[in-house]
């Protein structure tokens, strides 16, 4: 994924495909909205998962550090928004104050997790990160006494929606003669943030920092011997990945209006990890694909399994919920068997002599 140099004009084909993708992304919520607003919400969650898996991809895909507690940073972001913009503490800070705070706080938690695990790899790292994820969830569950901070298992309710001045993303509204529903407005917000995060990721990957991450993934000792300060570079990976998770979490809280600890279980961490692995670790387009498929597939199956059975057998023979998970598991096993490097694994990034050395020298 080499971004074309800014100074050169885009090739016509590339320009055409960018325009096409842009057009599809722009009208997507309206097309899906025809099948019901529920589908737009699913699309929004898919975008949240894209943010999460792209963030996790920095840690797992680039730096090669297996993190099973990633959802903790999503929780940190969500609770940051929930505590700073809800009647719980009576605080109603604007988004431009909360987003940087949750970004920084999640990043800080990322480093907190990273610091004690610097010398761990593989299985051991996975166990520690898993424990960390659970610690955060259990804290959120129990921090309602003696001082009520998180409101415990009941969670926090009536969280402020995302609001820019008087423009609230939760309400339906007619703009430029088109009626936008709340989920549709959130879609564009999420899309914007997702694209921003993707830009940051792609640029980091093709930079000195991204190469240092990949060096650590490939061979930590050689990376050290080449002068890479592996401690700092690893902490940076944890912090960057975590901060993206934090932003996604804040958006989740704002969109849902409600957060509780049970949204941040180990299963969620594993789901996000599955998206990264299934899509193709280390390859950003692959990870996006993985997130979209795994976020949408269960919902798609939910919508299809029951009508299909009625059509075939005239009755619901198998419990839709059960067979849905069965098919989902089967799909995962098949992908891992037949495409072990993921659906869209990273290819060798080719560097052409004329390509990027032309400018700046």
């Amino acid at each position: 994924m080499n971004l074309p140099a800014r100074s050169k004009p885009l090739p016509a084909r590339q320009l055409a495909s960018i325009l096409l993708i842009g057009a599809v992304l722009a009208v997507l919520p309206f097309v899906l909205g025809l099948a019901g607003q529920g589908w737009v919400r699913i699309l929004n969650f898919a975008l949240l998962y894209v943010m999460l898996s792209v963030g996790l991809n920095i840690v797992v895909g680039f730096a090669g550090l297996l993190d099973l507690g990633y959802i903790a940073f999503y929780a940190v972001g969500a609770y940051t928004w929930a505590l700073l913009a809800s009647p719980h503490f009576g605080l109603h800070l604007p988004f431009w104050a909360i987003l940087p705070i949750s970004l920084a706080l999640a990043g800080l938690f990322g480093m907190l997790l990273g610091a004690p695990t610097l010398k761990l790899r593989g299985d051991y790292l996975a166990i520690v990160t898993l424990g960390f994820g659970e610690i955060i969830r259990i804290f959120l569950n129990n921090l309602n006494a003696p001082v009520n901070i998180t409101n415990g298992p009941q969670g926090i309710n009536r969280i402020d929606p995302f609001r820019v001045g008087e423009f609230a993303f939760s309400r339906a509204q007619t703009l430029f003669g088109i009626r936008f529903t709340g989920p549709e407005k959130y879609y564009y917000l999420l899309l914007l943030l997702t694209l921003l995060i993707l830009l940051v990721c792609v640029r980091l990957q093709n930079s000195r920092i991204g190469r240092a991450w990949e060096a650590i993934r490939e061979d930590e000792i050689a990376a050290k011997a080449m002068g890479i300060n592996t401690r700092n570079v690893k902490l940076l990976a944890f912090a960057m990945g975590a901060s993206f998770g934090g932003v996604a979490g804040s958006l989740f809280a704002a969109m849902q209006g409600f957060v509780s600890p049970e949204s941040f279980s180990l299963t969620e961490s594993i789901s996000v990890l599955c998206m990264v692995v299934l899509g193709g670790m280390g390859n950003i387009p692959g990870v996006i694909l993985g997130a979209l498929i795994l976020a949408a597939l269960p919902e798609f199956l939910r919508a299809v399994v029951e009508p299909l059975q009625r059509l075939l057998f005239g009755d619901v023979v198998l419990d839709p919920e059960g067979i849905r998970m069965l098919l989902f598991g089967l799909a995962m096993v098949c992908v891992m068997l037949f495409r072990p490097a993921g659906l869209w694994p990273s290819a060798v990034r080719r560097r052409e002599l004329a390509g990027s050395t032309g400018e700046g020298v």
């Binding site: 830009l199 920092i209 990949e214 490939e218 050290k224 080449m226 990027s356 700046g360």
Partner: protein, 284 residues
């Protein structure tokens, strides 16, 4: 000549094994310094101590005016000591040129902000990194393989890529751990030319090698280790005729016979050395 690296009294113990004891030597700027010894003599341990992977229990090591003991590997690289590994440690799933570009890490400075904003300085630096990496690949003779994955390269090319990657860190001292291992005669000859070229370009070279022909033909001075101790030190000719060295490689009987026929040893110094090399090869 100025001393680039001065070590004395270095000691390193692994459990009950004293891998290095009281090892001391000086490497002068601009020389090719050989380090030989039978397998298990502590050569690689010494390398790891010098480059910060191991912390020695005793001794001092001063490189270019600064102490290396207790320094982290990345600080050692920063100070100007780069190395290759006996069992090749490339970034296998990255392309050859990316491997070398990673070597530039320590001499460049772009951070997260620069990369995300694509500042003018960052783009200029990035272009310079790539241009330098390409130069270095050409320098070691694998410029045509720039876009190939490191693991897809032939064994000899992988060794040369490791050297290019180490050179990318702009070392004052380049430490090569058995660069000729597994190479055939013609590849070794190319390697020898490369090492000579590196030295001619002002980089001091520390060389561990079992190929005696290469060591004896290339090095200005040779340090011989045995059982973690310094056995001998001198020019290749001196070391080759040192009865203790011959004994270490070939056994006591060989030392006597070799010592008894000085003409043969002087006339074909390689014959002893080759025998020594094959002997040490058997031992592994």
């Amino acid at each position: 000549m100025t001393v680039l690296l001065h070590a004395h009294g270095l000691g390193k113990r692994f459990g009950g094994l004293q891998a290095l004891s009281d090892v001391g030597f000086d490497i002068r700027a601009g020389e090719i310094y050989g380090l030989i010894g039978p397998n298990g003599a502590g050569k690689t341990t010494l390398f790891n101590v010098l480059t910060g992977l191991y912390v020695p229990e005793a001794g001092e090591c001063v490189f270019d005016g600064q102490s290396l003991v207790g320094r982290k590997p990345h600080e050692v690289a920063q100070a100007g000591l780069a190395r290759t590994f006996q069992n090749i440690r490339l970034f296998a799933n990255l392309s050859a040129i990316e491997n070398v570009m990673i070597g530039r890490h320590v001499r460049t400075r772009a951070g997260v902000l620069g990369a995300v904003l694509r500042t003018r300085a960052q783009r200029a630096e990035e272009a310079a990194i790539e241009a330098r990496a390409r130069q270095l690949l050409d320098y070691v003779g694998i410029g045509a393989r720039a876009n190939d994955l490191a693991r897809a390269l032939s064994y000899g090319d992988q060794r040369r890529l490791e050297i290019a990657r180490a050179l990318a860190t702009e070392p004052k001292l380049l430490a090569l751990d058995e660069p000729a291992a597994g190479m055939n005669a013609s590849e070794t000859l190319v390697l020898r030319r490369l090492i000579e070229k590196i030295r001619a370009d002002g980089v001091t070279v520390l060389l561990i090698e079992h190929d005696m022909k290469l060591v004896m033909g290339l090095c200005d001075r040779v340090l011989v280790l045995e059982y973690g101790k310094r056995l001998a030190l001198g020019t290749p000719a001196e070391v080759q005729h040192d009865p203790r060295v011959i004994e270490a490689y070939l056994g006591a009987g060989a030392a006597q016979s070799a010592g008894g026929v000085p003409a043969g040893a002087a006339g074909s110094p390689q014959s002893t050395a080759d025998a020594a090399a094959s002997r040490s090869g058997d031992a592994s």
